[in-house]
Symmetry: D2
């Protein structure tokens, strides 16, 4: 294979970002097909991206030889169905996070990919961000010793679509946003979660709480790893003030702070002495380069038949932690993994 | 009264800092007496500070009319005894944190002060720090809405004396260091703790663990307040890299970051392009002004017969949280307050 | 025209950067030809970029209909010759800075482009950088009043090729590096230079000074604009510690600081409390996005037949200032423009 | 002598700051007398500071044995008269910057102090600031090589009293504010100025310009030292946005940035994503510690009979540069020193 032909499944925010990167920012790849249930949107996007094979149904799309790989960007609860069908049709899979709603679903997705010998990569783009990669290499060098405490946060500016409100269907904030932190902390500590405890509240979205009493918009967690690393995760969504993704480590011989609130190295000061800057507005701009690099990495894995840098096992581990943390919120007790 | 005469009880690190501030940096105050059990140290310090009334025994010191107020800077487990005796002798009390080891002790200290009509102030100096005060006034102004998440950390460079190793006697890291964070989070949220959960490990001091198996040097907590504010506290001690005290809030209409790792606004860059700065080395320099302001505030409260800005009730609340968090570590479950 | 076919003239550092952007990062453009006098290098680069039309001579390249536009990335003293020939052959011109060595050459280049009705854009990429653009829009909004003082610096990590040592041929540091600052200050102030004064020294490269006694590696200038804006420019090259490009403005109602020394928002602190970060290593990474945006902008100007955002007149103005500042160094007096 | 008795001459902004430090923040010193021509103000301040010896005339004050040293905080054009009289009366002299208006006056002040064997210290408080001292020790260590370029700025929030408007009497902005920068750059480079060139404009205070056509409110300079260090100085006053004092060095093996615009390590971000902080409002807060340390240092020099850390020669050098830079503005040419 010299070029990977892609089908986008789910033309939402994340899906469109990947589609645009394939169209404009990566080599050896081509977007040939799109699957989305919204027929009107499908036509518009097809026109915008110059893609002619448009489907409202995955089975139809899979019936012809139009693509080698899929980008699954549809709502979380649909990932399992799409992924299994695509694997069985021998399509390589690049799947948005969270990988699935249930642990069993994530396991089945891994099984299907393995059985059909297709690549399966989960979209934890922080692993491709220059700041996070730089920190990872400092940690791995050992110059600052071993991690003791890891604190990670991701706070998102806007709410996802309404299917997200039902925690039982979507796993909520911990899944849609903190999945990144669960993955980053695992990656940095080279260990798995042993135990997680979470506190959650609904402080900004009382209107959602009426219909969905389990819905929460802010959360803090503590965790303990198998290798005794301890830490905290926190999030709020909608964050209003912007998109905020930072991680901090205490190590036996030092500490690391990754990221900041400010978007750009520009500072103004007005006549009253008020210094102003701007917070990051969006994950699209904050992780622009990382999104390009992760899809390039996936294409390389497909073309060179190597293992993706973020595997289905990483996706599964995050789903396990999300499920455990949500149970902790429900039971008011720490949950062992 | 025009001038407050002071007796220092316990000439350790914090005690000496207060003694020096009274000698050189505050008005209307005079250090007249010192109580310390180490006779040699007592003589040296008396000479250094020009103080002639030196005692190894509190009762003897209290038997003459030498002072109006005491600074209790001795080990935590002695606070209760000194405070009750001084209150009964009608001396005003400025007591280092943590206020006491047991909740009952702290309650008795408050009772003794009330019965004898003397002032009792607890040394939570962060409340007098310009950064923390500035943040408090922004929060109270309401311009950024109500606090949702508060994250606070204090990390200390050096271990206290050996009496600190026995967690059952000292309450450990959570008491000696995180007391500040428990107090700051209460102050910012204007609420009390409802529940606390903690994870602790010993990663830097295995040599202490042998004799004191309960000893931990690193900890993370989550908490929930009565008013639904949630948050995290973390600490490590010894931090080696320096003294680190930072707090961050997510509010309904914005966020606040208080403090940074860097000591001074000076940056060097060497020929290899490595940019360097220095972390804060010590709480003495980081909170230098706050220490002066808190003792000035106490002197004002005594002279003007007003209520101190940090009361025994604030000290008691922190002890309650410390005890609860330590029980959480022991039981592996969240503890209600 | 639907696609702009490019010929790269001069496959040096800047030229190759543009060639790579055309190949991988822009739409509606194609690199079809390369001109470079080094035959061996020419073959290697042709292979690397998949370009088959390779020439050691511009006349030969122009004799066939292979391209619509050229990127002039060759040494400064060759710009005039290439630009005039290409203009006469009706090729659009994207020319690296400095535009030319002599003011008369720059004027002739503008004349040739005008006569032949081709686009001429000068590569002042800072105008396309998000930080500088952001600052420009704040200035233009008037919210901080009018600029009074502008201070700009660019410091480069490595020396250009040896043709650069002869100040009389290359105009030196002020041309090769400070051209950017001369352009940025003109852009921000919306005015032309009235007067410039410069001090220069050779402190790092005594070995070059032997053969080229006029050579300087460090410089500071003051300037006054027609509209009374005053300011300073400074540079050093080689900067060793990295690539450094910052600008600061004092306005009647405030101030603006653009850029910083640090490359990434990551900070480490070692066991000794030394906080470390990294300076920007290269203009390639610092202005990566700006380089892509400027070539995209040129392509748009060609396809849409609009005026480029940075014109030959801007290039000419910078050459005039460079020549004046170099004369100031020689004469020890301010030079009027 | 065990205690230095002080007389304050000129109870203006700087004078009162020193008087308060003597009263409250230094040991072994006492303010016993005040000289000020404004009788009403004199009485108020005497009451405020508890000082009973109040004079409107220096001769009267010197006629009794009331003090050992004087603080000269009166307008610049009066320094020479007061200093010479005090020296002849064997009083040690702590003199605010700028030392004098004319070079000859500064020389006479040095001569009078020498003849009478009294200490003479000039109030360049930046030399006692922890940031500047820290930078000085890094430079002197040689680890970053030798200074090549030094850029320094001081920008002041408010205009001095009206005597300052007449440049011929006060030497203006360059004297009142940039004296600090002239001194810091000399201190860092361990060299004297060889040449200075300045550009000045009046952009904020047209109302002053009417009566005082030479008045300027914004200035930039370049300079060259005897040891080939080159650099720039800039200032604006009134700066409106706050008090701003920063210095930056390029050295043969690295660079140093001293100071920042922001006052405190606190950052807020509102619901629109606007990050806010505050600029330094005043030199009083920015250099609070430095002001205490410089007066302590002077007292030590008097009590221990050692040479002050900032001498009359340093004051004289700054006056020479100020006069040269003002001549450069007038003549439009660089001025040799």
């Amino acid at each position: 294979m010299e070029e990977v032909r892609f089908c986008l499944i789910g033309a939402g925010r994340a899906g469109m970002l990947h589609a645009n990167n394939i169209a404009f920012n990566v080599m050896n790849a081509k977007l040939t097909s799109i699957v989305d249930m919204d027929e009107k949107k499908l036509k518009e996007i097809g026109k915008e991206l110059g893609v002619k094979n448009l489907f409202t149904n995955i089975d139809e799309a899979l019936s012809k030889d139009l693509f080698d790989a899929v980008i699954i960007g549809s709502p979380t609860f649909t990932h399992h169905n799409y992924a299994v069908k695509c694997a069985n049709a021998k399509k390589h899979i690049f799947c948005e996070k969270p990988m699935a709603v249930k642990v069993s679903e994530a396991s089945e997705m891994i099984g299907a990919a393995k059985k059909n010998n297709v690549k399966l990569q989960i979209a934890f783009m922080k692993r491709f961000d220059s700041l996070y990669k730089n920190a990872k290499s400092i940690i791995d060098s050992g110059e600052l010793g071993d991690p003791i405490i890891i604190k990670s946060l991701t706070r998102g500016p806007g709410l996802p679509a309404s299917w997200y409100y039902d925690i039982n269907k979507s796993n909520g904030l911990l899944a849609e946003i903190c999945s990144h932190d669960f993955d980053s902390t695992r990656w940095f500590s080279v260990s798995n979660y042993k135990r997680v405890y979470a506190e959650a509240v609904n402080r900004k979205t009382p209107e959602i709480k009426k219909e969905y009493p389990d819905f929460y918009d802010s959360v803090v967690c503590t965790f303990k790893m198998d290798n005794d690393v301890i830490g905290t995760i926190d999030s709020t969504c909608p964050a209003h003030y912007g998109f905020d993704a930072r991680t901090e480590l205490v190590l036996t011989k030092g500490m690391i702070v990754i990221g900041g609130v400010k978007e750009e190295a520009i500072l103004t000061c007005d006549i009253k002495g008020v210094i102003k800057g701007n917070a990051f507005k969006s994950w699209r701009t904050r992780f622009r380069e990382a999104y390009i690099k992760e899809i390039r990495s996936f294409i390389d894995a497909v073309l060179n038949e190597t293992t993706p840098l973020v595997t289905g096992d990483d996706g599964l581990a995050a789903v396990e932690i999300v499920v455990a943390a949500n149970r902790s919120i429900k039971t008011g007790a720490p949950v062992e993994l």
